[in-house]
């Protein structure tokens, strides 16, 4: 057997949120901040959950796929990874998880909302951050080829 490929630790892995020590003393649940609300969640809608605001055309029209998460800075990528696993999370849940003050995390989350990775939605009395991912459109093949395949 030849030499296997080498494994490289992600350069920014050590720079992530887990290494921040800022302690959260008190906080409030996520409040929509001006201009940072995303569009409706493409994930099948939870009847108890409603989008907090109308989508902002310039930003919310952008769709991100799971691949785009990899291009985020380490701190935002870790936030996205965790929220994806939870399906949705309040600001309190996020600050509890990452042991950071809400004022430290809020700008990162707002930016994710603005970029279209998250939406801020109402779930009962709570505001929740929800992942918003879509599959990128496929490359286009000739319509004739698709028709041929459909006939098969």
């Amino acid at each position: 057997m030849g030499h296997p490929g080498h494994s490289t630790e992600s350069d920014d892995q050590e720079a992530g949120l887990q290494h921040s020590a800022a302690q959260t003393d008190h906080w409030e649940d996520a409040e929509p901040s001006d201009g940072n609300q995303g569009g409706s969640n493409p994930v099948r809608s939870n009847p108890a959950r409603s989008s907090l605001s109308e989508p902002q055309p310039a930003r919310s029209a952008r769709t991100n796929s799971p691949i785009d998460i990899l291009s985020l800075p380490a701190e935002q990528r870790q936030l996205m990874n965790w929220i994806l696993r939870q399906r949705q999370a309040t600001l309190k849940e996020i600050t509890d998880k990452f042991q950071q003050a809400p004022e430290a995390l809020q700008p990162l989350l707002s930016d994710l909302v603005e970029q279209g990775f998250l939406t801020l939605e109402q779930d009962g009395e709570q505001s929740c951050y929800c992942p918003r991912l879509q599959r990128k459109p496929q490359r286009r093949l000739s319509e004739q080829l698709w028709q041929k395949l459909d006939q098969g």
Partner: protein, 257 residues
């Protein structure tokens, strides 16, 4: 809430589906409720190992594709395949469900043509865990890195990365390991499969572990019996004392709570 376990490889033909099926059966034999989702929509296959290509065919029921198009709830696409367990085990609490992907040409081409909302997959996985009260949900992925596999890796509690002792596999796995680390997978375990008899297994395990700085959950031998079974059954049920089956058992122990 149950655990999500993804079984992935960078290249095809590594034995993902076989390992997924054997892990699932081994967990169910421990009285666990286990689900499997075949997310290899472009080239599905794990249903064959569970005999869904005979008798009860996928065409007679729903498949993952139907859920993705909104034709059914995902639990309606879950086929109870607990019958593969022997009668004594089936009488216990262990249950086994499989959500297959469709083998219809039109369904496969529709996915290629139209794509689908990957967010549905995440919702569907969670729905399966809740509705079927699963202890474990295993995801048999499409090889390589694409949107669906990245999502599966991201939301997994455990990721099994399968590779063969092959230079191409080794290099591709390095990429996948790097990506999995960026996605903060809580537990990543490497599995070397189809290892020829001439290899010294412990030495290979150590080499792979050192190379990737990751835990090697098992080194599975290339076996004549596996080739003879030819995906027509669950290997660890046919050959419970075989080194392959014993290694699968050891892998299961590593992911149990």
């Amino acid at each position: 809430m149950g655990k999500i376990i993804s079984v992935h490889s960078f290249r095809g033909g590594t034995g993902k589906s076989n390992i997924t099926a054997n892990l699932a059966v081994s967990l169910a034999r421990l009285n666990q409720r286990v689900g499997i989702v075949d997310t290899d929509i472009q080239s599905p296959g794990i249903h064959v190992i569970f005999g869904l290509d005979q008798g009860e065919t996928i065409e007679q029921g729903y498949a993952l594709n139907d859920y993705l198009w909104g034709n059914c709830a995902i639990e309606e696409a879950a086929h109870d395949v607990s019958h593969v367990l022997n009668s004594a085990e089936a009488a216990g609490d262990g249950r086994l469900f499989l959500v297959p992907s469709s083998l219809k040409t039109s369904e496969i081409t529709r996915v290629l043509r139209e794509g689908y909302d990957v967010g549905f997959l995440n919702e569907g996985f969670q729905q399966l865990l809740e509705v079927l009260q699963l202890d474990y949900l295993l995801i048999d992925t499409h090889p390589g890195l694409n949107e669906e596999t990245l999502l599966s890796i991201t939301i997994s509690d455990v990721l099994f990365l399968i590779l063969r002792p092959d230079k191409q596999d080794f290099q591709g796995t390095a990429v996948t390991v790097d990506v999995a680390r960026q996605l903060d997978v809580p537990q990543m375990l490497l599995v070397v499969n189809k290892v020829p008899r001439s290899y010294e297994l412990e030495s290979l395990k150590e080499q792979v572990s050192n190379t990737y700085n990751a835990t090697v959950a098992g080194v599975l031998p290339l076996s004549e019996e596996m080739l003879q079974l030819a995906s027509s059954g669950i290997f660890c049920l046919h050959y419970p004392s075989h080194p392959f089956s014993l290694t699968i058992k050891s892998m299961v122990e590593q992911i149990r709570d």
